[in-house]
């Protein structure tokens, strides 16, 4: 053992005292570590790929990355709330839709990262802007998006010589036949997000809206809403079964996978999972674009973004991870390919992605002519819109109407509830 000289002892002691006083460990030997909370992706292979990319990131950068997964929306929201209230938890969080608006004061400005991404891949899709561009500042980096299309049993349609619908009214015509065949239409009318994701396009294509462009005037009480509700009423009566009132976000997927539903409105996850699990229904499924109405065709888009909490002590390493996952073209491509067309690129120049060519059944996912909307359109994105969404006013209005409440009373109820939220 080396002899400890008086000089060496004094130097070491002074150094230690300095570290203790500053409460910052020396850079050499300091292990940088970040944690990332994301959901259980509906395309499970995507989560496996994410873990693999994470390991490579650690190897390449020396930053240790811990990825945690949490199930769908409910638990995820509880986790966000707990982390924000306690100012402790993960450094990065995956957020959906308008959540960056709700957590705006708690999220780091990541405009610098998004500007880099836009330079490389082109502008973020409009839905990405709606979700994460808050008061002129990017509060989260757009990661991918998933578009609502129609998943239908092509085999059953062919067997019964049914025409693939192009409008919501066409769907009523084929829906009646499907129900007679024992394969009803499966559109949830319950307290979940899929219900809102379908109610939105139906409402918009009949000319209705929840809140006007000014973001302040509630416009749910309109002839467009009446038409949308009347359409839901006849669909519920003639084309669907009452079970849709109890459905969760997963129920429509399960219904078509298990061979019951003949048509559902959903991203391609139902097909992806059926294919991966080798379900016999997978071969018979196909997709077509979301439907139109008298006021055009509107698609619900569900953008996802990665945000960094302000309480994080590792903002720069966290940004480094986002740059690695999304900013490195080869890594981002690999990640998108693993999602099997459930996770679509959210930047304009890479819309025509090779993932769409991996299966002819993804033809309906091409972005040309699509009007991407997030919840609450045409009102600008805001925390109020997210509050209206999270209170399930739209599906509850429809559920009231299809179960006996008059159309006008259902609309009046929704009008009142929305006005209370907008008034704050």
């Amino acid at each position: 053992m080396d002899r400890i000289t008086r000089r060496r002892f004094l130097t070491t002691s002074a150094g230690l005292a300095g570290i203790l006083a500053a409460r910052v460990p020396p850079a050499r030997g300091q292990q940088r570590e970040i944690s990332y909370l994301c959901w259980n992706n509906f395309a499970p292979a995507s989560d496996k790929k994410l873990a693999e990319i994470g390991q490579r990131f650690t190897k390449d950068t020396g930053i240790k990355l811990k990825i945690d997964h949490i199930s769908h929306m409910g638990p995820q929201q509880a986790k966000y709330a707990a982390e924000v209230q306690t100012q402790a938890g993960h450094d990065l969080v995956e957020m959906r839709m308008h959540f960056p608006w709700l957590y705006e004061p708690q999220l780091v400005d990541v405009t610098d990262v998004v500007v880099e991404m836009e330079k490389k891949y082109g502008k973020v899709l409009s839905s990405g802007y709606e979700g994460a561009y808050v008061h002129g500042v990017w509060r989260a980096v757009p990661q991918y998006h998933g578009m609502f299309v129609a998943t239908y049993r092509e085999d059953l349609f062919k067997k019964a010589s049914l025409k693939v619908p192009d409008t919501w009214e066409d769907l009523y015509v084929v829906g009646k036949e499907l129900k007679k065949m024992g394969n009803p239409v499966g559109i949830p009318i319950s307290q979940n997000y899929d219900s809102i994701s379908t109610a939105g396009p139906v409402l918009w294509s009949f000319g209705g809206m929840e809140v006007d462009k000014d973001g302040k005037t509630v416009r749910i009480n309109s002839p467009g809403t009446v038409q949308a509700i009347e359409w839901y009423k006849k669909m519920f009566r003639d084309c669907m079964e009452p079970e849709v009132l109890s459905w969760s976000d997963a129920s429509n997927n399960e219904s078509i996978q298990q061979g019951k539903a003949g048509w559902i409105h959903n991203p391609v996850s139902a097909y992806i999972v059926a294919k991966q699990r080798k379900l016999i229904t997978a071969d018979g499924m196909n997709h077509h674009r979301s439907l139109g109405g008298p006021q055009g065709r509107h698609e619900t888009d569900t953008p996802r973004h990665i945000g960094i909490w302000k309480f994080s002590k590792n903002v720069e390493p966290a940004k480094e991870w986002i740059r690695y996952l999304i900013g490195k073209k080869e890594v981002y491509d690999e990640y998108i390919m693993a999602g099997d067309a459930f996770n679509l690129p959210v930047y304009e120049k890479i819309q025509d992605h090779p993932v769409l060519k991996t299966d002819p059944k993804y033809a309906a996912l091409k972005g040309e002519g699509v009007q991407y909307h997030t919840y609450g359109w045409p009102a600008p994105a805001s925390d109020k819109v997210q509050l209206i969404t999270n209170s399930y006013i739209l599906p509850n209005m429809i559920a009231k109407a299809v179960t006996g409440t008059s159309t006008q009373d259902s609309i009046a109820w929704a009008d009142n509830e929305m006005k209370k939220i907008v008034a704050g």
């Binding site: 929201q77 307290q191 009452p242 129920s251 209170s391």
Partner: protein
């Protein structure tokens, strides 16, 4: 054994300290608080602090992650204007009233059965406790599967036996069925608590009373009405008290089975509170929902404990 002279004062000193200590501990005014302190610390940290925080949130416009202001009882007043809250208020009373009623009735019947001489008595008594022992979220998932429209074994069995017309009741999608479903699961889960507690009360009733009544010609119904029920009253009062509070505060069953739907028809205070505070972000309103019934429950506790004391003393 020889003792060195220099050790004696130390030993004396120690024994003096020990004596003083034991005398000190002998005093009730010291020992009592000393024993209570750990429990008080636990209550302060785990009960009082969250309660005070909830009170503070309920009287503020607190929103997740944003600064808040004191707004008095505005949240409580505002809630009463909300259809969803009024619906929840009604649901809570319907849910608790029916569920506790069934638990009392079935609990007494089950306890009387368990009190009989049965084969495998211990095994049966242990098995009865199972619903109460299994984590609620887990067992409710099992019930969710049984009521689920796509996989419902209840409907499948009913249709196979010809009791139900296909597709069978829409358990979780129709408001009355959904309420029946959540009440059923609550009764199933809470019944063992009632049965075992009432059984303990039954066992403690002296056999001589029944023998005397029997020799006086009292039938089983009269014996139950004039002996069993009056002597069970204190036990029943305590069980009903606990169950009323717990049933009012139920969360897991509704959250897993219906999420408060359809159209908010099964929301209880706890599930609505979660929706408002966590999903919507309005911590203040969510806390106000959870505290709305606090004054009423305090009164229920006071009245029932008074009743129990009267019965006992």
């Amino acid at each position: 054994m020889a003792v060195r002279a220099d050790e004696i004062p130390v030993a004396r000193g120690r024994s003096r300290v020990a004596t003083r200590m034991s005398a000190w501990l002998d005093r009730e005014s010291v020992l009592g608080p000393l024993f209570i302190t750990p429990a008080m610390i636990l209550i302060a940290v785990l009960v009082a602090y969250p309660f005070v925080m909830a009170l503070y949130f309920a009287m503020s416009n607190s929103f997740i992650g944003r600064p808040s202001e004191f707004i008095g009882i505005k949240n409580f007043v505002k809630l009463w204007d909300s259809d969803v809250f009024r619906q929840t208020f009604q649901n809570a009373f319907v849910f608790t009233g029916i569920a506790v009623g069934f638990k009392v009735l079935l609990g007494i019947i089950l306890a009387l059965l368990l009190n009989e001489q049965l084969w495998f008595k211990r095994l049966i008594r242990g098995a009865v406790l199972l619903p109460w022992v299994i984590p609620t979220a887990l067992s409710t998932l099992g019930w969710w599967w049984m009521f689920n429209s796509l996989y419902s074994v209840v409907n499948w069995t009913g249709i196979s036996l010809g009791i139900m017309d296909p597709p069978g009741p829409n358990w979780l999608g129709q408001r009355y069925y959904a309420m029946a479903a959540v009440i059923t699961v609550n009764v199933w889960r809470g019944l063992p608590f009632f049965a075992i507690t009432i059984l303990a009360g039954l066992v403690s009733i002296p056999k001589e009373l029944y023998e005397a009544a029997h020799s006086d010609g009292a039938g089983p119904l009269a014996r139950f009405w004039y002996i069993t029920l009056p002597l069970l009253r204190p036990v029943l009062a305590v069980v009903i008290l606990f169950s009323t509070i717990l049933t009012f505060g139920d969360f897991n069953i509704v959250y897993v089975l219906t999420h408060g739907g359809p159209i908010n028809s099964t929301h209880l205070f706890a599930t609505l509170s979660r929706m408002l505070a966590i999903d919507v972000g309005r911590l203040g309103e969510g806390a106000a929902v959870s505290l709305y019934l606090f004054p009423l429950l305090v009164f229920v506790v006071w009245a029932q404990l008074r009743f129990v004391r009267k019965q006992v003393y």
